[in-house]
């Protein structure tokens, strides 16, 4: 009996244990299923988030690539286009420009959406830039993929891609930079145009500051376009093209006559200006010269790069803030006024006859008074109304005016007309009486001077050998319409542009 009891107890314990196991297994199984389903859902969500972001990443990158190029291109490639750093031979270099692009692109790139939604327990790591490379028609990017990760106890998900993402955007930003830099630097540059062309700088005039340099360029440094290459054998192509002229179009070096002369005669305010004197020389407007060169450069570039548009404008400044129209000004910054050379006062005397001019320091003067016609005085009878004579007073001054930097002749002339305008009343002697009281005509000894006819004359004459300063600011805008770049908050598009600003500093004077 005792054995049976023990057996019953053992079996009962065994049953309890078995039931406990069943219960434990059931509980664990249910819990594990919940945990597993949660993890599966999390992993699914992580992968979905990775791919959702991945779908938009190339287009976001594309947008940043092209809008960065556009923004920098319209800002001189990203350099300061002002006084500090215009395009010239040393600043900026192509490397600086591409570094600038990379730097700005990276800044723009890392403002990509970072928070990819209500992530909860997910961690998101943004894509990162591994490499940026340029070729003439593309910007090539290598990106390290973004990551969506999850790390729970004993369960980790890392949704990413082991490979790098290669993105190549078709934009000719680097090409524009290279062309822009080519205009200011030595070198050889490949082009797509298959024509052959030789371009020469013009030699200009022998009576000019630029002559020797331009002649040397003309003789020894032709620009050759052949075999899909263009050599730019001289530094600062633009500057030299403006100075010397190019391909049959004359530049500043063709200006040989710096002698200006203009003469005017007027009643009161007569002024002879340097501008008028320049116009009176044997060349036309200097700005026309420059504009002709610019047009020629534009045509040449348009021929070599037929799928790019070139807009070139030039503004010439001489630093004189008083330049009126802003288009063209003439420097008055002469080093010193030319000497007063009219030692014999010939110019003065030509206005002073019959007087004689006397030489003073840097001037000639004369003055005389004379009755130049008829009788200046005398008697006229009562009731006679006629001109008797003309009395002239003249002062002539010829001098160099420091303030205006030109010669001028100031002729002050006053004419007095001696008229016999004696009416009976004026005469007050229309009747004379003899001793017997009989009236008779009598002569009055009255001189009438009428000053109403005085004149004032002013002549000025400009004669000078001068030199000319110009600081042309040339702006070139290259435009590539092969792709259009969207404008933010608009459905409009812009082509890719690259603006260049070049500032010359020329001094033109007779050789």
């Amino acid at each position: 009996m005792k054995g049976v009891s023990i057996l019953a107890a053992v079996i009962a314990i065994a049953v309890i244990i078995v039931m406990g196991f069943f219960a434990a297994i059931f509980i664990l199984s249910a819990s594990y299923e919940r945990t597993l389903s949660d993890r599966v859902a999390s992993a699914h969500a992580a992968i979905n988030l990775f791919y959702a972001y991945n779908e938009t990443l190339p287009m976001f990158t594309n947008l940043i690539v092209i809008t960065t190029a556009k923004d920098l291109g319209e800002n001189c490639g990203g350099v300061d286009c002002g006084e500090k750093c215009v395009w010239n031979n040393s600043c900026p270099t192509l490397e600086q420009l591409t570094d600038k692009y990379k730097s700005v692109f990276e800044n723009n790139f890392y403002i990509l959406p970072k928070n990819i939604g209500e992530l909860g327990k997910f961690n998101f790591t943004q894509p990162s830039i591994k490499k940026i490379e340029f070729d003439e028609n593309h910007i090539n990017l290598t990106l390290k993929y973004h990551t969506v990760s999850l790390n729970l106890s004993g369960f980790a998900v890392n949704a990413t891609n082991e490979k790098d993402l290669e993105i190549s955007e078709n934009i000719r930003y680097y090409l524009l930079l290279e062309i822009g830099k080519m205009l200011f630097k030595n070198g050889t540059y490949p082009i797509t145009w298959d024509g052959t062309k030789t371009i020469r700088f013009e030699s200009g005039s022998s009576n000019n500051t630029f002559y020797n340099k331009c002649k040397d360029l003309h003789d020894n440094y032709p620009i050759k376009v052949s075999n899909y290459q263009i050599n730019i054998p001289v530094d600062n192509f633009l500057e030299l093209a403006i100075e010397c002229g190019i391909d049959g179009t004359e530049g500043l070096a063709s200006i040989s006559d710096f002698y200006g002369e203009v003469t005017k005669l007027g009643s009161y305010d007569v002024d002879c200006t340097r501008r008028e004197a320049l116009q009176a020389t044997d060349y036309n407007w200097i700005d026309n010269k420059i504009n002709n060169v610019i047009d020629k450069i534009k045509r040449i570039l348009g021929e070599i790069y037929p799928d790019l548009n070139f807009e070139i404008s030039v503004e010439i400044q001489d630093g004189d803030t008083s330049c009126g129209d802003g288009k063209f000004c003439y420097s008055t910054n002469l080093e010193k006024p030319p000497p007063f050379t009219d030692n014999n006062c010939e110019m003065c005397n030509s206005y002073c006859t019959p007087g004689t001019c006397t030489k003073e320091e840097n001037s000639c003067r004369c003055s005389f008074d004379e009755c130049v016609r008829g009788e200046c005085g005398g008697k006229c009878g009562c009731g006679v109304n006629e001109r008797n004579g003309v009395w002239k007073t003249r002062e002539v001054t010829e001098k160099w005016d420091d303030s205006k930097s030109y010669y001028w002749i100031d002729v002050y002339q006053m004419d007095y007309f001696y008229d016999c305008d004696a009416t009976d009343e004026d005469c007050d002697c229309d009747t004379c009486y003899d001793d017997e009281g009989n009236p008779y005509p009598c002569n009055c000894e009255t001189l009438y001077v009428n000053g109403d006819y005085a004149t004032y004359s002013y002549y000025c004459e400009y004669k000078e050998n001068f030199k000319f300063y110009a600081k042309p600011v040339v702006e070139i805008e290259m435009e590539d319409s092969s792709i259009l770049i969207p404008i933010k908050d608009s459905t409009n598009f812009d082509p890719l542009k690259l603006k260049l600003k070049f500032k010359g500093d020329y001094e033109i004077k007779p050789a």
Partner: protein, 173 residues
């Protein structure tokens, strides 16, 4: 002696039984849980529905231009319009997000035996403005607000389009 034998047999029985269940437990512990329909549909699939919708929608493509919905939605954010224009292969194409999204909603959210409430919109968190791209219910904003308050399961998916701007999909049974 007989009691001892019986006890010994019972002990052996218990040990064998325990061993069997321990083995079963261990096997269960290292075996994936059974993939039931409930697990797949209710626990995994439904919460992912909006995300799957988002992925599929982003991949929709205009066959003529080759522009995907994902491309267009990026431009939509940049141009600040649900009808962005995209330059591709020398032409400018206009892409109407609503046109494609609505077609997708009509196809995915309603079919015989199934009626899901779907709402696709762009949300600007700065201005707190919503631009509805597609929907299959009236007043979706109120409808989903009510669902959330009442604790109903809402499946959501969102894709950032920039600073504080999102492309969002809401669905629920």
């Amino acid at each position: 002696m007989r009691g001892f034998i019986l006890s010994f047999i019972a002990l052996i029985f218990v040990m064998v039984t325990c061993t069997i269940f321990i083995v079963i437990f261990l096997i269960l512990s290292y075996t994936p849980a059974k993939i039931t329909k409930e697990l797949v549909v209710n626990v995994v699939y439904e919460p992912m529905f909006a995300q799957n919708m988002l992925l599929s929608l982003l991949n929709m493509r205009n066959e003529t231009s080759g522009i995907t919905f994902a491309d267009a939605v990026v431009y939509a954010a940049y141009q600040n319009t649900p009808t962005p224009e995209i330059f591709r292969n020398g032409k400018i194409y206009r892409f109407d997000l609503s046109h494609y999204a609505q077609k997708y909603v009509d196809f995915v959210c309603e079919y015989p035996g199934v009626k899901k409430k779907c709402w696709i919109f762009i949300y600007d968190a700065t201005s707190r403005s919503i631009v509805t791209i597609a929907k299959n219910i009236d007043n979706p904003e109120k409808e989903f607000e009510r669902s959330q308050k009442e604790g109903e399961a809402v499946s959501r998916a969102s894709l950032p389009l920039g600073f504080d701007r999102w492309f969002v999909i809401y669905t629920r049974e």
